[in-house]
Amino acid sequence: MVEDFAYLNARVQARRGTLLKEAFFQEALDLSFPDFLRLLSESVYGGELSGQGLPEVDRAIGRTQARLVGDLPRLVAGGVREAVSFLLLRNDLYNLQAILRAKATGRSFEEVLLLPGTLKEALWPQVFAAADAAGMAQVLAVAGHPLARVLRSVLRETQDLARVEALLAKRFFEEVAKAARSLEEPVLRNHLALEVDAENLRTAFKLQGEDASVESVFIRGGRFVDRVRFARLLEGDYAVLDELAGTPFAPLSGVRELRALEKRLRCVLLAEARKGAVDPQGAGPVLAYVKEREWEAMRLRLLVRRAYFGLPRAQVEEEVRCP
């Protein structure tokens, strides 16, 4: 065990009380946009809500998440801080990948949905404003973030977006897994291994049919998706997903497209994170809390879009529910 998580787990336990209840999401599925705003303003997100538009709601969600999750590493020191930072470093990778995608597809910064990471919120607009990916690495390097070095090394190999994303994840996870081994925190290590498996599955789906070498994109350190299974999935052999029946990835059976895979993976990782929350002296409760907050933000962003664009309930109902 790293160190004593008692202090942080108590804080996290108190914050769990502000997680939105299932009834909130059920009710929100039928509300108009103004009614949704009213309901949201009565929740923990209300304090940050300062407008009536979609960007203002996204900003409120982002800021509340940063306040309730992003500050966790700053509350503790030593090994506990290092362990919690591992959880949020993952979000930094997501944010960087989302910004790279947004810039490649010509979307604005407001459309990028950021997750609470280790970097300050104000830094991401600067990353987005950089002329190219090399400039992004420069901004991250000024902030002293380890992703800067990873991004630079990836850019030396390829400029293709899909491959940049895959290589970023590979290098990042391999570095994090190496560092996590020294933490002696089994809950975190196991979850990280599941995240590696999930990332390998995503990469295999994304790069199917492309001329990608298995060795260059496969991430080592997973538990259930080995190199052979990864290679088979990359070639379009979906039977691999059925072979995962005895593992936490059993719900992936029958999945044939990336969107469905993403959704089920999200639910699998959330369910596994919740299982680790039973030990009050370990990192499990913090891990479960961070994952639940992420899931909450994701659901809110989907629901606010349903209300704003007046979409029918059925269209988003499946997306905001984990069985």
């Binding site: 004593d4 008692a6 202090y7 942080l8 787990n9 108590a10 804080r11 336990q13 108190a14 914050r15 009050p280 002296q281």
Partner: protein, 93 residues
Amino acid sequence: MKKLLVVLVLAFGALAFAQDGSGDRGLIAVGAGLAIGLAALGTGLAQARIGAAGLGAIAEDRANFGPALIFLLLPETLVIFGLLIAFLLNAKV
């Protein structure tokens, strides 16, 4: 673990001295010391974690001060038991 080892070494050392000198009286004094010392050690270990968790809960919401204080004080009963045993032993001296 190291702390426990130090306590045991001290206790056996004291026992050796006690047997060397004034017999039962010394043994009872060592017993009383051990009763209070070990009870206080256990209480300290328990209170360290309860205190840290209590502070975390209070930092999130000051309304948690009362329950946190009660939980922090509960292990003190162990020292009271140790003290009681020490008194009982002392009465025999």
